[in-house]
């Protein structure tokens, strides 16, 4: 874990980090990773990766409509809006 990795992750996450924060996060994330890395001591050869903790499958719902929530309610958490649209900073493409 170094500065390049932290900057890369910050960019993917669309957050700006100050130089102090970068140092702080390098330290924190390194600790987390080395903790998780203990798992590498386990021999997982020939073991299918687990995709779910619950041993169950095929849970479906029918294609039946349910009343949506009110628009006022739906938009109540939007930091900015115009009419019934959510307003966001300009995005290109």
């Amino acid at each position: 874990m170094d500065k390049t990795v932290i900057e890369y992750i910050a960019n993917l996450s669309r957050i700006d980090l100050s130089e102090e924060e970068k140092v702080f996060f390098i330290h924190q994330l390194s600790n987390i990773i080395s903790y998780i890395e203990k798992l590498n001591r386990l021999n997982t050869e020939d073991i299918e990766p687990m995709s779910h903790a619950i041993i169950s499958s095929n849970v479906f719902r029918g294609d039946e409509p349910v009343v949506s929530i009110l628009r006022e309610e739906a938009l109540s958490n939007a930091p900015s809006k115009i009419g019934f649209f959510v307003k966001v900073p300009k995005v290109i493409d």
Binding site: L12, S57, N58, R61, D63, S68, V88, D93
Partner: protein, 478 residues
């Protein structure tokens, strides 16, 4: 240098379910912004997505129709990226165990059959819709989440296409399959069907694939073809100058007919896929698979081949009839009543289709039913009415929905086959047009057509034209 263009297509089709993939919100197109949303599709914390069975089965149906191997174990993954149209900051998609893999689709390229391999077919959720205001200098975009969570099918082809004709045929064939299997309305103008092309060039005769460029924002099949031609030309020019092709994503600009590099994608994509813990895996057994398989109708490609072989129709006729499932169904319904394939084909693709188009109706919603069309065709074939009169009967049928027999009776349109009567009319016409008869005898062949016309006019089109012709020639001398 001479190059070969190599194209693969990614196709997105919105499935026409009533509700979204993971919640019960309506998928209806054109509703007021943000009126078809709920905590699940808005990505609120603590909600649980539950899969729409109809959507899953529609996806399986297409995977089977495209000859894919169905993964007996399939599950869903989170594809993470940050974009304002994606409320959860990840899209639920499939990455590790796609629903269908290693399929193929046969396409007809100017009479030659080509097999295009399908890499995979998988199910995912749609993103919301971004609206970019047109006002100059606007520094914002608007988001409508009605579309977020609509089931979306992705079909990824192998880079097996080599020309615009092949790409065109692939798109048309795939569209028809999606329509025949009734999983999507395929309305490109509403975004229900979208294509993205991956294009690369290589020196003719070589094997190694060149660097590929992805083209997005292709809003119609025409744009796909134009975008492809533009890109092939652009790459050829770069290669001729000794430059290398950068692996990148470009956006098609429909107005200016050119593509531009997508600035926001300069960073390598890093989707950090991992299994979606909120959804359980799906296990597919043989029984379920064959149930779904049994709902797949005969597909357009096979149906067209059968129409050509069994009913001896031309490639053009068979293609027209199988263009839409309802047309082909109508045709076969008629055939179940009487065995006159060519006559039905002509009436359907010329007259019925024109009327349907004029009235903006589905062929089944026209007042003429297969039984009535079959009756009309029978009256012509049996010589009860002429084909000219038949057109008149048809116009009446389309207006009133009456049976042809009834119209013929009411309007007294039965063809006149009485030779004595026809001869008397011919005599009358010869007597009143001596100059024309003279012209004909001098060798002016089209004078005969005039006389036939006069006889037909006199009999209000009811005389059997073949008989009129025969008798007239006999009278004035051949």
């Amino acid at each position: 240098m001479e190059y070969e263009v190599v194209v693969g297509l990614e196709t997105h089709a919105e499935l026409s379910t009533i509700t979204k993939l993971f919640c019960g919100c309506s998928t209806k197109f054109g509703a007021e912004p943000n009126s078809q949303v709920c905590p699940v599709c808005l990505g609120m914390p603590g909600v649980l997505p539950v899969m729409n069975k109809k959507a899953f089965e529609s996806a399986m149906k297409v995977a089977l129709a495209l000859n894919c191997t169905i993964n007996k174990f399939t599950n869903f993954d989170r594809k993470s990226y940050y974009y304002p149209d994606l409320p959860k900051n990840y899209q639920i998609s499939q990455n590790y165990y796609n629903l269908g893999v290693d399929g193929y689709m046969n396409i007809d390229v100017n009479g030659t059959i080509k097999k295009v391999r399908i890499h995979n077919v998988h199910l995912e959720e749609e993103a919301g819709k971004l609206i970019h205001p047109e006002e100059v200098g606007a520094n914002y975009s608007l988001v409508d989440f009605n579309r977020a969570g609509v089931p979306l099918l992705e079909i990824v082809s192998q880079p097996d296409m080599r020309s615009t004709d092949e790409v065109e045929s692939y798109m048309q064939t795939l569209r028809k399959i999606l329509l025949y299997t009734e999983v999507s309305d395929c309305k490109m103008q509403e975004g229900s069907l979208r294509f993205e092309a991956s294009i690369s060039l290589r020196e003719k005769g070589t094997e190694k694939l060149g660097n590929r460029v992805e083209i997005k924002n292709l809003n119609s099949m025409k744009s796909v073809i134009k975008g492809m031609e533009y890109e092939a030309k652009r790459q050829a020019e770069l290669l001729d100058r000794g430059e290398t092709i950068a692996r990148e994503t470009r956006l098609w600009d429909e107005v200016n007919e050119r593509s531009e590099r997508m600035r926001s994608k300069e960073e390598a994509q890093d989707y950090r896929y991992f299994p979606e813990p909120d959804l359980l895996p799906v296990l597919i057994d043989e029984k379920w698979m064959s149930e779904i398989k049994s709902t797949i109708p005969e597909l357009p490609f096979d149906r067209r081949q059968r129409f050509m072989e069994v009913f001896k129709l031309s490639d053009y006729d068979a293609s027209c009839l199988t263009e839409e499932k309802v047309l082909a169904d109508f045709f076969e319904y008629c055939l179940s009543i009487s065995d006159r394939p060519k006559a039905f084909c002509n009436w359907i693709i010329n007259d019925l289709l024109r009327e349907a188009k004029d009235r903006k109706l589905d062929i089944y919603n026209l007042p003429i039913k297969p039984k009535q069309l079959a009756a009309l065709v029978e009256t012509i074939e049996r010589g009860i009415i002429s084909s000219t009169i038949a057109k008149e009967v048809f116009s009446e049928m389309i207006l009133t929905g009456k049976d042809p027999q009834k119209i013929i009776e009411e309007k007294k349109l039965v063809q006149i086959n009485d030779e004595g009567f026809i001869e008397s009319v011919i005599d009358k016409m010869i007597a009143s047009n001596p100059n024309v008869v003279e012209d004909y005898k001098k060798g002016k062949k089209n004078a005969l057509a005039f006389l036939i016309g006069q006889v037909m006019k006199e009999t209000k089109g009811k005389a059997n034209p073949k008989l009129v012709n025969e008798l007239l020639v006999k009278k004035v001398g051949g």
